[in-house]
Symmetry: none
DNA sequence: CATGAATGAGCCTTCATTCAT
DNA sequence: AATGAATGAAGGCTCATTCAT
């Protein structure tokens, strides 16, 4: 009756589910909970128990990536030069988005369904906003663009890179080129 | 055995289908051929005859917009200042993409299914490439970005604007802001 | 494009579906559209096309029985003695309900989904109300019970008969006994 | 190997389960053992141990009501006037059935699964039968109806009342009206 | 050419019941 | 005894596409 400390086998199943989802997401396959169940060798209801909706699973898949970006943003805030701090962070962000499609999906979605994801997103937005403001304060960003603008634009860049190229390597290259243009535009 | 000269009623049906599809696309509704048939008061098979796949219908819906852009690009090539010619064209292109979702869909797709669409796309790419090259030749574009890069990026901007804003007006505003940044970046 | 005059094969399918449903209802099996489809050797969607909900199918199954009762009620109104006219009609009604479970289901349901069923139900209620009023006017019914009361009570009698007996014959006998009691009660 | 004397915590769990079930039944919610478990803050398997089937739980929920009716019937047998003894008992029975749906469910079911319920039902039937016989012996009941008939009819009245009215108060009123008709019918 | 009925795979979701802990 | 995670059959419904008329 006390809130259980997560059973070992349950945790293993849950992890299997997330792993399968991770693989599907990376392949660009839409997350269908029945498929996930089958591939994870688990009953459908088990998937539903852990993740009531595809979104919840998607956000869970995205969480580690979001956490890494939060950490990266924090580190960036400690860097000396505001402009390179910002560009460094955005480089990494873009690379993450192109490597892990769940990030773009979650960040482009109008809403989060898990509190943890909401928390991470808010934190990340706050940090990124500060990075941008710092760069602007230093005169390195001359446009009026806010992070609220820039986040969608990063998703747009990822979108563009995915259109432009098929293989991972080429996507990264295109993405970087696009980001350079945008950064140049921000820099004024 | 020459291909028949299109019966009048067939043409009328076809137009009805396209009109319905146009409306659905504008509303952001995914094109379901059954729905299209019903709304056009036409049998499903009629839709399938005219448009074997949803893509064919989508491209047909996009065609007038593509033609308008081709015309606009041709006019731009006659303008004096290469930079304003380019930016003017891109402004109109973005507005078109945000107003008519079929344009972004068709241009972001990896392939065209109708010869006519392929033709229009090729023509448009050629003209846009020349606009870009002319601007670069004039020193107004300093980056190495090609039109082959810029096309996806325009789609990315449209994507970003759609994420950022819900209503049409706001989307146009965001989109223009994003385009400004990118143009600034191109301009160097 | 004109409202089609019902295709022959479509009509055959529809009839097959109704026939299967009829059988299931008579067996007391709940109507599951998937099962109906399988038993009728028809695709699921065909069933859904003809009958969007189980209720629609149930009401269609019930319709002939309702029509027969309407006819019976009309005839009863032409009979001389108001009391025997009423009891005769109620006898037949009960027998119908016990023979065809769809009748009790439809009449006990809080709402009808098909216009035709609504129409039949309204008509039947109107006629039965007149039968009851006529009997009351003749002094043969002394209680204040209205048809609005009596309809549920008829369903209750059918319910009771179904509890009391398993086989059709016994159900009819119990039902008649119950009805006698109620009629005696009405008669005062 | 004697059956253990019931542990205190087990008894508490059992009670919690019954309480929750009571609440659900009163609300007209179908008894789903998973839900019951969750609402009782108890594992599903605990519910299954105490109540192997939904019926067992339902009968347990119904038991106090049945006991009360047994007591009421016994008291009725001590009353002077056989007719008012019977009608008084039936009034209370109906009110109980309309207040506590488990009673109608259990009494309308073809079989009992718990010995205790069977015992109560048998006892109640025996007492009610005697009440009816006594009234008939006194000439107050002229029909040939037996208690074996009357029990289903009581359930039928409850069924009718539930069809006729939505809220508890109205149900009680309709039910009483129906019962009056039936009693009048019995009385002849 | 046109119609629209028919198909059936496929996805989503729920729930009674079992079983490892 | 108790827990609650896991199961997977089962049912509901949709939709792209085919085919008989």
């Amino acid at each position: 009756m006390t809130s259980a400390p997560i059973r070992k086998d349950a945790a293993r199943n849950r992890q299997r589910i997330v792993d399968v989802a991770r693989r599907l997401v990376d392949d660009g396959t839409p997350l269908q909970l029945n498929d996930v169940a089958r591939l994870a060798s688990v009953g459908v209801a088990t998937v539903y128990r852990h993740f009531p909706t595809p979104e919840a699973l998607m956000e869970t898949v995205a969480a580690p990536g979001l956490e890494a970006l939060v950490a990266r943003a924090e580190r960036a805030l400690t860097e000396e030069d505001p402009w390179t701090a910002l560009t460094g962070f955005l480089d990494v962000t873009l690379e993450a988005q192109l490597t892990d499609p769940s990030l773009t999906i979650v960040r482009a979605a109008p809403a989060r369904v898990l509190p943890r994801t909401e928390e991470l997103a808010t934190e990340l937005d706050s940090l990124a906003g500060r990075l941008l403001d710092r760069a602007r304060a230093a005169g390195a960003v001359r446009t009026v663009v806010t992070w609220d603008d820039l986040l969608p634009l990063m998703c747009g860049i990822a979108f563009a890179a995915n259109i432009h190229a098929d293989d991972q390597q080429a996507r990264l290259e295109s993405g970087r080129r696009y980001l350079e243009v945008v950064l140049q535009g921000l820099h004024g």
